[in-house]
Assembly symmetry: C2
């Protein structure tokens, strides 16, 4: 029951982009050095965020990435679902043909649906801006 590095890194990358936004595209190389995440692995994560419209990418010299919206307009849930996929705790809940033949008599299905809902509510209740402004004691 773990969030993978894809989701965790994506969150840190988005925070980094928010913190260092001065209007100029930020290359992954910079983020890689600050965050200690390998460039090549980040290159695999970023297209997910680009395709979702969460960042704008600029190729070529002086290229890099910029957030497309204000940090307050992203929920953490948006970012996690885009990179991790669905946060459903069991495959049965997804549309995909993972349905169980015991579905009708399943005593646990509603419980799992509730957990899924609870997780989604929580992750959608925090914005990227709130994380950026997070103070550490």
């Amino acid at each position: 029951m773990k969030i993978s590095t894809k989701g965790r890194y994506a969150l840190r990358i988005m925070i980094d982009l928010a913190q260092h936004d001065e209007g100029e595209a930020i290359p992954l190389k910079e983020i890689s050095e600050r965050q200690g995440i390998t460039l090549k692995y980040m290159e695999q994560i970023m297209p997910l965020l680009t395709r979702a419209g969460y960042v704008r990418s600029f190729r070529g010299n002086n290229g890099g990435y910029l957030l497309s919206k204000s940090p307050s307009d992203y929920t953490v849930g948006d970012i996690l679902r885009t990179t991790e996929g669905s946060l459903a705790p069991i495959a049965c809940l997804e549309d995909t043909p993972n349905r169980c033949e015991r579905r009708e008599e399943c005593k646990t299905l509603k419980f799992w649906e509730g957990l899924w809902q609870t997780i989604n509510d929580y992750v959608d209740g925090t914005t990227l801006e709130q994380l950026v402004n997070q103070k550490n004691e």
Copy 2:
């Protein structure tokens, strides 16, 4: 971000034990047939529940398992944590030496702690009895 079969099966096994409890030990073979879970795999899951004191096991002829408490005395969280391990969504949260050297400056740690808490609260808010009495529409 998925619950594994260990946790899901354990829950179904506990429900099955509750539903068929008539004072006599229930052998895994019966549960296996009803639930469509292989006997050998269940044999690996049960000792976790036995050691946790959640079921009493009886070896030998006419042996099997019985719940040690009333279904209302188990939360789903108890059962899942016993079989799945901690429900922490990232390893950083656990005591184990998974701590990150960026811990002090981490903007996301509190968020993950909150998710963990939210998950634990939810799974501890449902009892085995409630699942047994679950009606399906």
